[in-house]
């Protein structure tokens, strides 16, 4: 227990300025991540609707798919994709922090671990893309 504390009424409580997140790259990225969740959420809702339309039969699905082909939706999806990639990268960097890898006595540099993760991720994505394209073709 601590007895004396500063008198709360005499303290000055600074407010965070509205632009605080512009001050530093990492704060900006933090805000981006917070914002990105909106995009990802909308993307997921769209996906659900899409699956629902699929169950309604090919006609309504094609109509829906056409609407998604509008420039607005394409831009939206491009942004959502960028955010998803950004989240994945954050995730890979954080796994490097969570699970430190050791080689003998020395810790492997975290950026290297993250880079390896990301490399593996790109390879896997390319394989999936290839499978997808070859299925289509």
């Amino acid at each position: 227990m601590i007895s004396p504390r500063p008198d709360k009424s005499m303290l000055y409580y600074p407010k965070m300025p509205a632009t605080w997140w512009l001050r530093k790259r990492s704060y900006f990225l933090f805000m981006l991540r917070e914002l990105s969740s909106v995009f990802i959420a909308i993307f997921l809702v769209v996906l659900l609707v899409q699956i629902y339309q699929l169950s309604e039969g090919p006609k309504s699905y094609t109509a829906f798919a056409q609407r998604l082909g509008s420039p607005g939706w394409i831009i939206f999806h491009a942004i959502a994709l960028l955010f998803a990639i950004y989240h994945s990268i954050t995730w890979f960097f954080s796994t490097a922090v969570v699970l430190p890898l050791r080689l003998g006595k020395r810790e492997i540099p975290r950026n290297l671990v993250a880079a390896l993760n990301i490399g593996a991720w790109i390879v896997v994505s390319l394989v999936i893309l290839y499978l997808f394209l070859s299925l289509k073709g």
Partner: protein, 248 residues
């Protein structure tokens, strides 16, 4: 002395007199080997005895002298004037904390948080002193050693936007210290700490900004402690759900 001077713009706030903090400019002789704290002490001794700030060890280990230097949380006894000279230097109290006066912040909130993570060894059975020490290998020591280096300087709290928006958040240092005891091979109190670490105000508030680790002067890496605690708590939760009673 060659007559060169350095200029510091320092935040002043005197409750009862100032409505809001203001900035005051001081010129001090420029000395290549002075740290910012030397300049503050020069002002206090020779120019303006009303300037208030905390300091003690002037060797980066007591954790008293944290301030914002040009917007970045720093130990002022460990940054040199020469790193900024001839630019003017802005000195402000650590952000995200209430200000008591000038550069002095109120950190009593941290002391409560520190206590809440039970930063002491918890044992189910105590060993007697006469039985000697608990054996601990250098490897077991290195599992938590990094997280013992925290000097409670509060720089990480000043860097953490989550703490800025959500003062209830336990924050980087308190979590790192809780994690430190969890990782100590002598400790058996993890369960009682997880309740606090895993609470609403605990680790889940953190969204991995990572600035705490960036600004930490002692390489504690609180961000890692937070992320690893998340994994541990999740693992413990899965175990408690998936494993039948008694096998945990």
């Amino acid at each position: 002395m060659n007559g060169a001077t350095a200029t510091l713009n320092i935040t002043r706030y005197l409750p009862g007199q100032d409505q809001i903090p203001r900035s005051q400019s001081y010129s001090v002789p420029y000395q290549r080997d002075w740290v910012i704290l030397d300049a503050l002490n020069y002002i206090k001794d020779h120019i303006d005895g009303t300037l208030s700030y905390r300091w003690s060890c002037r060797m980066g280990v007591c954790g008293s002298c944290g301030m914002m230097v040009n917007g970045v949380p720093k130990l002022t006894c460990a940054v040199f004037l020469r790193d900024f000279y001839p630019q003017e230097i802005r000195i402000e109290p650590l952000v995200n904390f209430p200000i008591i006066r000038d550069l002095v912040i109120d950190m009593s909130d941290f002391l409560d948080k520190l206590k809440s993570v039970k930063p002491w060894i918890i044992r189910k059975t105590e060993k007697q002193i006469s039985e000697g020490e608990y054996l601990q290998t250098p490897e077991e020591l290195s599992a938590y050693q990094q997280f013992t280096q925290c000097i409670n300087c509060m720089l990480c709290y000043a860097a953490c936007p989550v703490y800025g928006m959500e003062p209830e958040f336990l924050g980087p240092a308190a979590i790192a210290l809780g994690y430190r005891y969890n990782q100590d091979s002598r400790d058996q109190g993890k369960e009682s700490r997880q309740a606090v670490l895993g609470s609403h105000e605990g680790i889940w508030q953190c969204t991995f900004v990572g600035e705490c680790t960036e600004v930490c002067p002692k390489e504690v890496d609180p961000a890692a402690a937070i992320q690893r605690s998340k994994v541990e708590i999740t693992k413990d939760w899965f175990k408690s759900v998936l494993l039948p009673w008694g096998q945990r």
